[in-house]
Symmetry: C2
Subunit: 227 residues, 2 copies
DNA sequence: GAAATGCTTCGGCCGTCACCGTAACATTTT
DNA sequence: AAAATGTTACGGTGACGGCCGAAGCATTTC
C-alpha cells in the first residue's frame, strides 16, 4: 500500500457525513457507545456499527469493551489534531456563520464549549492580556508568571511529563469565533482542572459546558473575566 | 449547510486516491498545471480536470491562469497543515516502512526531501543540539542564539511580519523518519534561504531535493552536519 | 486563417458504498 | 431459563461518483 493510498483511506474514513458527525461528537475526548453515536449521526445502530468498524480499521478510533457496552474514542491525539485542522479548513471555506465580532466576555463564557484538548477563547484572551501566555499563529509559550499561576492552581506541568526548559503550548483557532484557543497539553491540563475543581460542568448529552457559580467566582477572581 | 457537512465535504475532497496524489504533489508549495497533476495521479487530463474543479470549489486549491496554462496550488497554509496532519495519522496507521533507526547524518542529508513549509530533520536536530531552537511536541521556540544565527544568514524574521517578542515555530513530525521537522514561518524562511543561496536544488520532476557542494560546505560549517 | 496545444464539458458505463430490515450473537437482568 | 438490551452480520436496493472517449473553447503558434 503506497503512502497516498493510506492518506486517501484516512481522509475517506473521515469524509462520510455520518462518520464525520461521529468523530465530531468524539472530539471532546469522551468515549461513547455505538448507539449514542448512531443517534448523533442520525442513523440506525446497524449502520453505525459498520461505520465504526471502518473507522477502527482505519486507526481513527479505538474501542474498549466494558460489560455489554463498547466504548469508542479517538485513537490518538494526532487524530484529534487532524480533525481540528480539517475543521479549520472547513471554517475558512464556509465563511462566518457567526459574526466575527466578539460580544461581552461573560456572554462568551456562558456559551462556552469545549472540544478535545481545548479551553475557551475567554481564558486564552485573559491570559494573554495578563502576560501569562504569548500566542503566535504557529505556537505559544507560557511565561514565568503563567507558570506561577498554573502552579497556584495545583497544575504542575513539569510533573506531567514536560521536560525542563520553557513551557510550550499549542494554539487552536476556534471554529465559530475564529479566535485562538489554548490547546495541547497545557490546555488539556487547565481544562481538566476546571472540571475537577467544579468550575464547569458538562451539559447532559451535548458538548456544551456550563460555568458553575463557583466557577464564575473563580474565573472572575483569578482571570478577571465574567465580571 | 451544517458544519459537519462542510467538514465531510473537505475530507471527502481529499479522500479520493487521485485527488490525494495531486494534493501530495502540491504540498511543496509549487503551482502545477492540470496535465502535470494528471500525470502524477495516473489519470487522463479530463478526469483530472473534474477533480481539480471539485478541489477548487471545496476551497483546497486555488487556480491562477497564465496564458494557456492554469496553475494550481494549495489555497492556504491551513490546507497544507491539514494535509500534514492527515499524513501524520496515516504514518501512525501504516507503521514504519522505513526503520526508525536514523543512519549517519550525511546519508540523511543526501536523501533530503522537502515538503511544504519544511526543512529536513538533520537541520532541526543540529539546531536543537546547539541550543538554537527548543522543540516540544506541541510547539517550538527559537532561542537568542538561534535568532542570531538566522540573522547572520540574512533572515530577519521580525521583518517577515513576526511581531516583537519571542520567536515561535511549529514542529512537524517527518512522515518517514518520524522525527521532528522545523515547519511554520521559521522553517519556510530557512528553506527559502537554502534555495536562494544555492545550497539545495530541486530534482527535476520529483519532490526530492539535492544538496549542492556549496550547500554541503555551508551545512558543515554553519550547522556542523554532513561532516 | 489554420493548425496545434492545454483544458473543460458531456454522456455513458461500472464499481463502491451508505442505508435499512431482518436475524444472529453477547451480556446483563429478572 | 427466559427476557431485555447492546451490538454485529447478512442481503438487497439505490445513489453517488470515478473513469474514459468524444467533442467543444480558449490561447498560442505557424
Amino acid at each position: 500500500m503506497t503512502r497516498t493510498a493510506v492518506f486517501a483511506e484516512i481522509a475517506t474514513a473521515a469524509g462520510d457525513p455520518a462518520r464525520a458527525g461521529m468523530l465530531n461528537a468524539l472530539m471532546d475526548g469522551r468515549a461513547l457507545t455505538a448507539s449514542e453515536l448512531a443517534r448523533v449521526a442520525g442513523i440506525t445502530p446497524q449502520t453505525a456499527s459498520g461505520h465504526l468498524a471502518r473507522l477502527t480499521v482505519a486507526g481513527l478510533i479505538a474501542v474498549e469493551k466494558q460489560g455489554r457496552h463498547r466504548y469508542h474514542r479517538l485513537a490518538t491525539p494526532a487524530v484529534a489534531r487532524m480533525l481540528e485542522s480539517i475543521m479549520q479548513v472547513a471554517a475558512d471555506a464556509e465563511p462566518p456563520r457567526i459574526k466575527a465580532f466578539v460580544g461581552p466576555r461573560d456572554a462568551a463564557m456562558r456559551a462556552a464549549r469545549t472540544c478535545y484538548d481545548h479551553l475557551g477563547v475567554a481564558l486564552a484572551d485573559a491570559m494573554v492580556a495578563r502576560g501569562q501566555i504569548e500566542l503566535a499563529p504557529d505556537a505559544g509559550i507560557v511565561t514565568d508568571s503563567g507558570v506561577a499561576l498554573l502552579q497556584r492552581l495545583g497544575i504542575d506541568l513539569e510533573a506531567r511529563g514536560k521536560r525542563k526548559g520553557r513551557l510550550l503550548c499549542r494554539p487552536c483557532l476556534d471554529w465559530s469565533e475564529r479566535r485562538p484557543h489554548l490547546a495541547g497539553a497545557v490546555g488539556a491540563a487547565l481544562c481538566t482542572h476546571c472540571f475537577d475543581a467544579g468550575w464547569i460542568k458538562r451539559v447532559e448529552g451535548t458538548r456544551a459546558v456550563k460555568v458553575t457559580t463557583k466557577g464564575e467566582r473563580n474565573f472572575r477572581e483569578i482571570f478577571g473575566i465574567g465580571g
